[in-house]
Amino acid sequence: MGEFLSLREAVARYVEDGQTLALEGFTHLIPFAAGHEIIRQQRRDLTLVRMTPDLVYDQLIGAGCARKLIFGWGGNPGVGSLHRMRDAVENQFPRPLEVEEHSHAGLAERWRAGAAGLPFGVLRGYVGTSLADHTKTIASISCPFTGEELTAVPAINPDVGIIHAQQADRDGNVMYWGITGVQKECVLASCHSIVTVEEVVDELAVRTGGVVLPAWAVDAVAVVPGGAHPSYAHDYSDRDNDFYAAWDPIGRSRDAFAEWLAGVVEGES
């Protein structure tokens, strides 16, 4: 019910080993601080869902938190590869990583179905590609009216969905704007949800295209200014493109990553 908690409390209360977890945010509003808190609390055997794993999942995978990744595009946008993810897939380091691979359109439909309380979604997708040969969660379905064949994908319903937003009001209602991604679906499809926010305000902003989540649809709200860095919060911060570039050599080297990880684990939540 939009309860204000510290990030540490929120993660401690809702995130458990073995769960299916989603930290969403499409380039914008990626909940990095929450990811780091999960690393600090040493959660393990997580199934991580995200359309674009981005650095935040490279970090969680490199830290050994994940046993499975459900994703659509695993790169460092504008820079190159996610090397911790590749090391896990190619060399099983630091542990094997099972991969369930979809397209973005397919994952978006899986999120929609999850938020809508349906067991599956339908799209024009995957046809003629190799994805269906390797991903069990892609099936064929016939239109009962026209007989046309389409593609079905199962709903995603994580145990915990985590997003970052610009604002919460004092009642715990949450608002974000700019590129809004699949965050509404992530929160609504998940059994529990945590939202980190830039700040608490008396009145939510007025923004065309802004999304408001009522307090009762969110479990915990944690005030974490800058909680999306090196991603950004529209009207609050800019994307730290330099950090994304600087991540490449860190992620590329197991040693450099271990050093980065030690810094996070020692950090304050």
């Binding site: 595009w73 946008p77 997708g125 995957y126 190799s130 590129i179 529209h234 994307r239």
Partner: protein, 255 residues
């Protein structure tokens, strides 16, 4: 490897970007991937296609960025857009519904029918290289009216056989897309740093239809992993104009 013209006035990457930009018609509604596709689309918008509508899968419709975004989710895309919608909507109501004329895609590998691999090199379960994966490409390739692909020429990129078909081009050749029930016409051009390839209307196999200035047909054949067909009336791509280069470099400079 970056080839330039004789006196170093432009690079082969610039030629590739400019050639890609020229493909975009004015008033076209265009689904844009990040990197070269985004650069090319934004050059086109400043040149011959001021009314082209740029759509990014992050949900930005009609973006008019004043500098090149580093990702498909940069703030400038949202701020300069006519409308911002969620990712579920952009894929279902806009892309899937067939509202997009042109899809602009990059690729790690393609084959002779312009099928695309951006997933793995080697076996799927034990890949020698794990590539980023599908992203928006499979449905962009399926549902846009036509698709333009850009990638640099090499035998590792233009391959005889793909290890993984991430996004369908012309499949196994003429009639394949229709048989699969795909609505879009598929790839209409592959633009590399060496030339332009277009599907033969009869077979849908890619044919070299133009070589960039300073590039020979043999250069292109050498950099292609299959026995590349060459159009009888192949041309030399017009070199980037002063204006094209000015626009492109100005865009790059502020990004």
């Amino acid at each position: 490897m970056s080839r330039g013209n004789d006196n170093g006035q432009w690079t082969s990457d610039e030629m590739m970007t400019v050639a890609a930009a020229r493909e975009l018609g004015d008033e076209a509604v265009c689904f844009v991937g990040i990197g070269l596709p985004s650069t090319a689309a934004n050059v086109a918008r400043r040149m011959h296609a001021p009314n082209a509508v740029l759509i990014y899968e992050s949900g930005c419709i009609g973006s008019r960025p004043d500098h090149l975004p580093a990702s498909i989710g940069d703030g400038v895309l949202s701020e300069s857009a006519v409308a911002n919608v969620g990712v579920v909507e952009i894929f279902s109501y806009w892309l899937q519904a067939g509202r997009i004329d042109v899809g602009f895609l990059g690729a790690a590998q393609i084959d002779r029918f312009a099928n695309i691999n951006t997933t793995v090199i080697g076996p799927y379960d034990a890949p020698s290289v794990r590539l980023p994966g599908a992203g928006g490409a499979p449905e962009i390739a399926a549902n846009c009216g036509e698709v333009i692909i850009t990638l640099r020429h090499s035998r590792r990129a233009f391959v005889e056989e793909l290890d993984f078909v991430t996004s369908l081009g012309h499949g196994t050749g003429n009639g394949c897309r229709e048989q699969l029930g795909l609505r879009g016409q598929g790839p209409s051009a592959v633009i590399s740093d060496l030339g332009v390839l277009r599907p033969d209307p009869a077979t849908k196999e890619l044919k070299l239809t133009s070589v960039h200035p300073g590039v020979s047909v043999d250069d292109v054949r050498d950099a292609t992993g299959w026995d590349l067909q060459v159009a009888d009336n192949y041309e030399v791509t017009p070199a980037p104009t002063f204006e094209e280069l000015t626009v492109l470099r100005k865009l790059k400079a502020v990004s």
